[in-house]
């Protein structure tokens, strides 16, 4: 039986800070519906964030939440998870927070395969500081720090995180809100580092600067440019050129960090006991 979304919200913290048309509310509701679908108790969920528009999300959530410093959410979350391995620890973060200032923590959390679930609200821009380009701003796009078009290449975050060792990576969009929620539910259920890139829209600082005047145009863009893996397999490289793939993009079974930690303690303790 699905609970209303307000069950998981600190409604006294409303109104939220997000601009009109911002996709972050859609991603947040996808996270909450995922939590609800798994039947998780509120007390068994801890939500951690860094700094930025996306990282304001935990402030609105009625779980135990920790709002930390810029880029370091995964480091704080690692501390929580190692102390309380039974908690479902969710990290809600933005593309600037996760992929720029926090990029180092991201690859090492994935490498360790610690059982955290990271949702990256990717709106391709630093929204909170009014539109500087991020590591996820596509080449050629405009930003306040790229007034003639961006000259760098963005990360493929899913590829990066999977290559670094994660157990599960997936991508969804705000337009495909229900599938996004299902991907997040799968990610939470995975025993290992799981990562979902949620393509979100920032009409205020990204859209307006890049000929997408409002959220509807941007959601349309998501609809037009997202293809499933199966659909992609039927398209030519030419047809795939400006598309991105959504859905589960990588799964693997690897030993999980906190379990390994437990077992090494057991092994070491046993050895000591034997010696005694």
């Amino acid at each position: 039986m699905a609970k209303p979304i307000t069950y998981y919200l600190r409604t006294d913290k409303m109104p939220h800070i997000w601009c009109e048309g911002c996709g972050h509310g859609i991603v947040l509701s996808a996270v909450l519906r995922a939590v609800d679908s798994l039947g998780l108790d509120k007390d068994d969920v801890c939500v951690v964030s860094g700094i930025g528009c996306a990282s304001r999300a935990p402030g609105y959530l009625d779980f135990d939440t920790l709002h930390t410093t810029h880029g370091r959410a995964l480091a704080f979350a690692t501390g929580i998870k190692t102390m309380k391995p039974n908690l479902n620890v969710l990290v809600l973060t933005g593309d600037g927070d996760l992929a720029a200032i926090g990029g180092n923590h991201l690859i090492h959390a994935a490498r360790r395969n610690i059982n955290l679930t990271t949702i990256c609200f990717n709106n391709s821009i630093y929204g909170m500081t009014s539109g500087q380009y991020s590591p996820m701003t596509p080449t050629g796009k405009m930003a306040t720090t790229a007034p003639y078009g961006h000259i760098e290449e963005p990360f493929d975050l899913c590829e990066l995180v999977f290559s670094a060792g994660a157990s599960f990576v997936a991508r969804g969009t705000c337009y495909h809100a229900n599938p996004l929620s299902k991907l997040i539910a799968k990610a939470i259920a995975v025993n290992g580092f799981s990562f979902v890139e949620a393509i979100s829209q920032c009409p205020t600082y990204y859209g307006r600067r890049n000929k997408m005047r409002d959220a509807l145009v941007m959601l349309d863009w998501q609809k037009e440019h997202a293809v499933t893996k199966r659909a992609a397999s039927r398209l030519s490289p030419e047809e795939l050129k400006d598309k991105f793939i959504i859905g589960e993009l990588g799964t693997r079974t690897r030993p999980e960090y906190t379990e390994r930690y437990e077992s090494i303690i057991k092994a070491a303790t046993k050895e000591t006991d034997d010696n005694v």
Partner: protein, 394 residues
């Protein structure tokens, strides 16, 4: 001709940076300093400066890039606030230890936790022992003037130390006020070209920067940093004298307001000094000999001059917009008390007020209350509380 404009503190700093035209600026966005670099970035993209502008992935990298650039002989700058400055902490000591004259405007903002974007001085006060010169500014005009002078001070061959110029977040950075800008060629003539004596990639004179330095020489090198600081005061005054020649505006190590004949003095930095001066005027009109000392150069600390200015006062209140949590008061107070230990004559009564953390307003009534407390202390000869948190819900 100089221009008189209505301007925010951030705009004033961005304009000064455009005029300074540094070789390298490396920065990362953070409220409330973002605007400075954003506006400067526009100057870069509009071709108004020759600067290499590096958009790095964190403040730690911003200061690292500035250090690299400065070591290679560039005039390098960055700007930040709060957590950004905190993240630079490791690199601040390196910039000072390598004696690299990097200049950075810092927009004062509270430190986490809890998260807060508004003004207090925890960020720069936390960096007070890093070896950087620190110059505090009351308003946009002072911030603009101080930043231009800081280039000359930092790069002076007798000094060669990094310098930060601070102003209050939002109150000054986003508040509109009148300011006068100098002409571009006047500024450029004043700051001159930077001509470093030693730098990387000088193939005729190869050097090593930041090498391992154990118990054999480390101590001597750190001693040199302290030695450089002993020469800062004179350079600050000399640069101020020259600056007066181009601007007509006078700067010293600190600013005394109705201080000479004052019996009761407040010591303060940055924007709240403006509020306090108005209180001084009101109290003077009522016949109370109130005065104020606003520190401009906080690092290095101009002990002799400040002690001389404050000696003979009946009572002094030091207002700190930061806490040290040492339970001995804020950073200004602790330094002032230590400095006054050497003052001639009977010991002056001194108290501390910690105010305005996280952007909490301080108003004229509260400052008038501080002067009243001083009068009471002198009357009774008794200090009830040496450290008071002013304007907080207890």
């Amino acid at each position: 001709m100089s221009r008189r404009v209505a301007i925010t503190g951030n705009e004033a700093i961005a304009e000064a940076m455009r005029q300074i035209n540094p070789d390298v600026v490396a920065a990362y966005p953070i409220t409330p300093a973002t605007e400075i670099v954003q506006m400067f970035a526009n100057s870069v993209s509009d071709g108004k400066v020759d600067t290499e502008f590096v958009t790095v992935e964190s403040e730690h990298s911003a200061m690292s890039a500035a250090i690299g650039a400065s070591a290679a002989g560039a005039r390098a700058m960055t700007a930040t606030s709060s957590q950004g400055l905190a993240l630079m902490w490791e690199m601040l000591y390196i910039a000072a230890g390598l004696k690299l004259p990097i200049v950075a405007p810092i927009v004062n903002r509270a430190l986490s936790a809890p998260i807060n974007i508004h003004c207090d001085h925890s960020d720069t006060m936390g960096a007070r022992d890093s070896g950087w010169i620190q110059i505090y500014s009351e308003d946009a005009q002072e911030a603009y003037d101080n930043l231009i002078q800081a280039i000359r001070i930092a790069e002076h061959p007798d000094v060669l130390l990094p310098a930060m110029v601070t102003m209050d977040g939002f109150i000054v950075s986003h508040g509109m006020s009148n300011a006068e800008f100098l002409d571009d060629d006047v500024v450029r003539g004043f700051i001159k070209e930077y001509e470093p004596k030693h730098y990387l990639l000088d193939v005729e004179n190869p050097i090593t920067v930041g090498a391992l330095d154990f118990s054999d020489w480390y101590f001597e090198h750190r001693r040199q940093v302290a030695d450089a600081h002993t020469r800062v005061k004179d350079v600050v005054l000399q640069v101020a004298e020259e600056f007066k020649g181009i601007s007509g505006r006078e700067y010293k190590l600190f600013d005394g307001y109705k201080l000479d004949d004052a019996e009761y003095a407040i010591v303060i930095v940055n924007s709240a000094a403006g509020t306090a001066k108005t209180v001084v005027d009101e109290l003077r009109a009522k016949g109370l000999k109130a005065g104020l000392l606003k520190i401009r150069l906080f690092r290095p600390f101009p002990q002799e001059e400040i002690v001389e200015a404050l000696s003979g006062k009946k009572a002094i209140a030091v207002l700190d917009r930061a806490d040290t949590l040492s339970l001995m008061g804020g950073p200004l107070y602790i330094d002032l008390r230590a400095a006054m230990y050497d003052s001639p004559g009977p010991r002056v009564k001194m108290v501390n007020y910690i105010y305005g953390l996280g952007g909490r307003d301080i108003n004229m009534e509260q400052i008038a209350g501080v002067y009243n407390d001083l009068v009471e202390i002198v009357k009774t000869g008794e200090i009830k509380r040496s450290v008071t948190y002013l304007g907080v819900r207890e």
